[in-house]
Symmetry: C2
Subunit: 662 residues, 2 copies
């Protein structure tokens, strides 16, 4: 492999005559959305001081049609670039060494000589990988910055938000270029467009600052021109817009550093705890949509204000936000009528929300700050899941992985490394504490971990509880519920059908726990915690027979979801190499209990990973890398949404999943 070449020795006209020219367009190469191609990278580098180091080999699998540059970036392989893959900076030089013909684009013809082109040199951002390719990557001329975001993913920093400080020549009678052209000529690796608001300020700012200005760019939109050098101040906010909780993270996009993180309850709570009650509110009262939109905006604005204050950052220096929320939260924040999301056949207005200003969603940041909303795959597999898939690299891992976000609505994604399927399962409120007698949110006083010892003797406790905040137990949160049922199944107090065993059987099976079985009203219960001062069972924290039924229905809905997806791809439980449990509930859940009750496939617990707030991580990645953002948008094409409620085999599968494996 030779050094990256310098320039062409023949003209664009020669190439045009040969009919070889391909223009860059927004239209990706056609592919059928299935299958993958293999790219084998040989990455060359220089040591400090300039000595060659042995090249590194990396093989990656990507959907066909992805550019070589994207494929490299997504996998943490750095290739020079400043323009963001528009073919304009001419820096992402690579050499294709496979014996295949790769089309020559106009930009290639301007960059390389005829000899170099026939040696396989191309601009990496313009080569669409439509078959397996071997690619040589020359040593970097600049050291790219990277940050670790998502689930341990190394992201090469290339934020949509860029600042460029330029010192321009003043205009003269022999150089009457317009102010805009003068500026854009100085930033010629980007193809900038300016809106009216920038043009209104441009001439004044240029002249008041002696033509020394900082261009503020989001994507290729010039959103402002600031006097002097302000390149150090370039911030963005990642929002995880949950139905219950909203998290905001202020990022320095130049370094990838989170400057401040804070969270608060979604101010839409008074309209109802879940998406259905909020959608219903808009159907009952025509003013409710406006008020829900205002509440979402107020929540986001308050978080933005807090993170800026905490980090000492001027909100006017925040130029972009990314929002990961489910389809209903996204619609409500944008003021889009959510009604069709809430009633069959569950239709979205649009999968990809339009690009909007941050001020459109109630934020007071830079007046022209942009807001990026993650797209949704379906009414119940929303932008939060797309962000989570981005953060976990669901589309870039060769392993067979199952992603489950457990909640009132449970989103499930299955990838076998080639095909990605998604679906949603209506789990109901059991995991949120709703519909459970002693259910509560995962707040102080909630039992979240339970261990039972059926044969405890003496001082050894038969029931060991982990309680949030280490206070007197007040109730049972979702993970505690799962633990309780799993432990009762394990010790044999719950049978395979989900029935609490008769008292006489209990005494034999679990002598240390039998006295916990009781009755409240007509219903049998298992008492988890009995206040010392009181023996009234209604004052206790307990699990009722009906609670077990609620959980059974919820877990059956979820396991039916992933069972049908596994079936679609012809896979068995044991084929699943990793289960990612997403969301705050997933983080608290005991993997062993999840396996025990059948919430996840029957797998060794080490294959089950709590992934944490993946939606928020995905939002950060979208702000730090246009490549990653493009990857998120590409998921719309790559992922097939499977509608369960339409399937004739759903009910049979559901019934199969209701019971517990002994």
């Amino acid at each position: 492999m030779s050094q990256p070449p310098e320039g062409p020795d023949f003209s664009i006209a020669d190439v045009a005559r040969e009919g070889l020219i391909e223009r860059p367009g927004t239209d990706p190469a056609p592919h059928d959305g299935t299958g993958r191609v293999d790219l084998s990278f040989t990455v060359h580098a220089k040591a400090e001081g300039g000595a060659d180091v042995p090249p590194a080999q990396r093989s990656v699998r990507v959907p066909p049609g992805v550019t070589v540059f994207d494929a490299a970036s997504w996998n943490g392989i750095a290739i020079d670039s400043t323009c963001g893959g528009h073919g304009t900076c001419h820096k992402c030089k690579i050499q294709i060494t496979s014996d295949v013909e790769v089309p020559v684009t106009r930009h290639d013809a301007r960059t390389f000589t005829a000899g170099q082109l026939s040696d396989g040199w191309r601009l990496g951002c313009l080569v669409h990988a439509t078959r397996d390719l071997a690619v040589e990557v020359p040593p970097l001329t600049t050291r790219p910055k990277a940050a670790t975001v998502g689930i341990g993913r190394q992201v090469i920093l290339r934020p949509a938000l860029q600042k460029r400080y330029v010192e321009l020549d003043e205009a003269t009678l022999s150089d009457q270029r317009t102010d805009l052209v003068r500026l854009t000529d100085a930033i010629d690796d980007l193809e900038l467009t300016a809106d009216l608001h920038v043009l209104r300020r441009l001439s004044t700012v240029l002249r008041e600052s002696d033509f020394k200005v900082t261009a503020v760019v989001v994507d290729e939109d010039l959103i402002d021109v600031e006097p002097g050098d302000t390149t150090a101040a370039r911030y963005a906010i990642a929002f995880d817009l949950g139905t219950t909780t909203v998290v905001g993270t202020l990022l320095d996009v130049g370094t990838g550093t989170p400057m401040a993180v804070t969270s608060m309850l979604n101010a839409q709570q008074p309209f109802g705890g879940d998406v259905i009650t909020r959608i219903s509110a808009t159907m009952m009262d025509k003013d409710a949509l406006g008020r829900l939109q205002e509440a979402a905006g107020r929540t986001l604005a308050e978080l933005a204000e807090q993170v800026c204050r905490e980090a000492g950052v001027d909100p006017a220096h925040v130029y972009e936000v990314a929002v990961a929320g489910n389809a209903t939260m996204t619609a409500l924040a944008l003021g889009i009528d959510p009604e069709p999301l809430g009633v069959a056949p569950f239709v979205m207005s649009a999968a990809q929300p339009p690009s909007v200003l941050a001020s459109d969603i109630g934020l007071s940041l830079h007046p022209r700050a942009r807001a990026f909303f993650f797209p949704a795959l379906g009414a119940y597999v929303g932008g939060d899941i797309v962000a989570g898939m981005l953060a976990t690299g669901m589309d870039r891992d060769k392993r067979t992985r199952l992603f489950i976000d457990v909640g009132t609505n449970c989103e499930i994604v299955l990838s076998d490394g080639e095909t990605i399927l998604s679906t949603a399962a209506p789990a109901g409120p059991a995991f949120e504490g709703g519909a459970i007698r002693c259910g509560m949110r995962a707040a102080d006083g909630a039992i979240e971990v339970i261990t039972l010892d059926p044969h405890a003797e003496g001082d050894a406790p038969a029931v060991t509880l982990g309680v949030i905040g280490d206070v007197e137990p007040k109730g049972l949160c979702g993970s505690g519920l799962v633990d309780a049922v799993a432990e009762l199944v394990k010790v044999g107090l719950l049978d395979a059908s989900g029935r609490l065993v008769p008292d006489e059987d209990a005494k034999e099976i679990a002598p240390a726990l039998a006295n916990r079985l009781s009755r409240i009203g007509e219903e049998r219960v298992f008492i988890l915690h009995r206040p010392a001062h009181d023996t009234d069972p209604t004052e206790c924290v307990y699990l009722s027979q009906r609670d077990v039924r609620e959980l059974q229905f919820a877990k059956a809905a979820i396991s039916t979801g992933w069972s049908l997806l596994l079936e679609e791809l012809g896979l068995e439980h044991r084929d699943v190499q990793q289960v990612l449990l997403a969301g705050s509930f997933g983080s608290y859940l005991s993997p062993a209990s999840a396996v025990r009750i059948g919430l996840v496939p029957q797998l060794p617990v080490l294959r089950i990973v709590a992934a944490g707030n993946v939606a928020g991580e995905g939002a950060k990645m979208a702000l730090l890398s246009v490549r990653e953002r493009a990857g998120a948008l590409a998921l719309l094409e790559e992922v097939t949404y499977v509608e369960l409620s339409d399937r004739p085999d759903f009910n049979d599968a559901f019934v199969d999943q209701l019971g517990f494996k002994a």
Copy 2:
């Protein structure tokens, strides 16, 4: 020539493998802006009833890089199309019969068989004319509408504003396409994008109107979705935003019919009569820009209201406006600081104003109506001139033509059929009546035509005046001024240097007129009109020696402008085949007088044509045809702006032009 073919017999993949694929992009084929290519069209047609009629031959000359489809459209040759040249409707089938290789695009590969491709069949909107071509145009499958606009130009109607009525299938569980996709799938010849405002309404409108809606599209932006079939109501307003007078024309873009026209004075008048005084106002008072912007908006809004009322059209059915104004008027209407336009080196913020909403410039039409502003070639060759060039076809005529818009600032364009040059000459206020003792605007009482008879006897009048409104003369407007000077030169009362001859000479030269020579104060004057009741010369309408000097300076500035442009192209006066006098002043001017005083080249008067309100005609064309609009934008690349104030030979040329040819 065969019939237009139907479909491909090989796959896109075959073509992709051959590396022939070219993607459509926004980047036009490169050309150096000079020279032209010849396209020779053979246009086939069917008579009513289906019989073939003999094909028509048309040869046109266009800048290299223009698509064959554009070249045809600009010259009134109709080719089938519904998508507006994005390669998506696959209707603009043509056959290239020249023996040249024309690249095959993806869209071509989807449209034609391999045999058809090798026979030269292509989509006309994707063939860039980079050399001379012979083109066969098949008979139209639909009859295109056309309208006569501009200077007798036949414009094929293809407005940016389109309405499409669709009846959509309702969503089901097995068809969960988003509302937006459902709509755009039904309009698959356009690639529509929707903004937040449309998405906010979309689901409600679809469901309230049983999925029978009209999509309102401007370019490829879906700006609204209206219940039911509203396709008949599709209006736009063309504005000629003059410094003095503003004209609004309401158009039915479906038929090209003007529904109402009205004009009024620009409400910015109180800030000063010309652009320089208005720019100065913004420099003295920081609030003036806002007030000037508001005044422009108020003027446009009032005209819009009037034309809608007159035509009985709901303003909410006006979806687009086009504005042709000079660079200062454009900047002020948009709220862009005009100061750099007013001081050397005369720099614009941007040549092409960004796309804005009509509401951004104060109009209350459809809330998402778009406003298109014509681009400017320089600070003093503005969008009004670009519109005028469009209306007069300055870039599409093979003749050598000179376009002159006479006013305080005089814009000059010269084309020899290959190269187009433009410049601006500071003529000063003489032609607007300013700085002339008895000067006035072209209003009632203004003398606009003058004929002198030096030897009149008896009752025959020595001075014949044409007066606007046929009332008692009150003053002299620009055309009257030119006539007065021209006639005085003709009869010999003004010598070649511009001096009124001595009284004794006058008696000999023009006995019937000598008594008109008089003196007011120190200054010699020629009395044009003396009120019957009064002999006080200050009550008369007269032309003073100083007035003559003012006119000399003004005409010298203008004739220096076109002289230097002629020199640039190596042309003589007699080479100019047509002089177009634009603007209201140009319409009143006597061609013979203009030649006489040297305001235009020494040519037979039949070559001098008053072109009328060409800016307004250009604005109409931009609304009726996206092709024409693209042509206007292309002028930015095609026309070279020549800055006169920078030229060392300007002063010598100016002095040469000061005198009158005897």
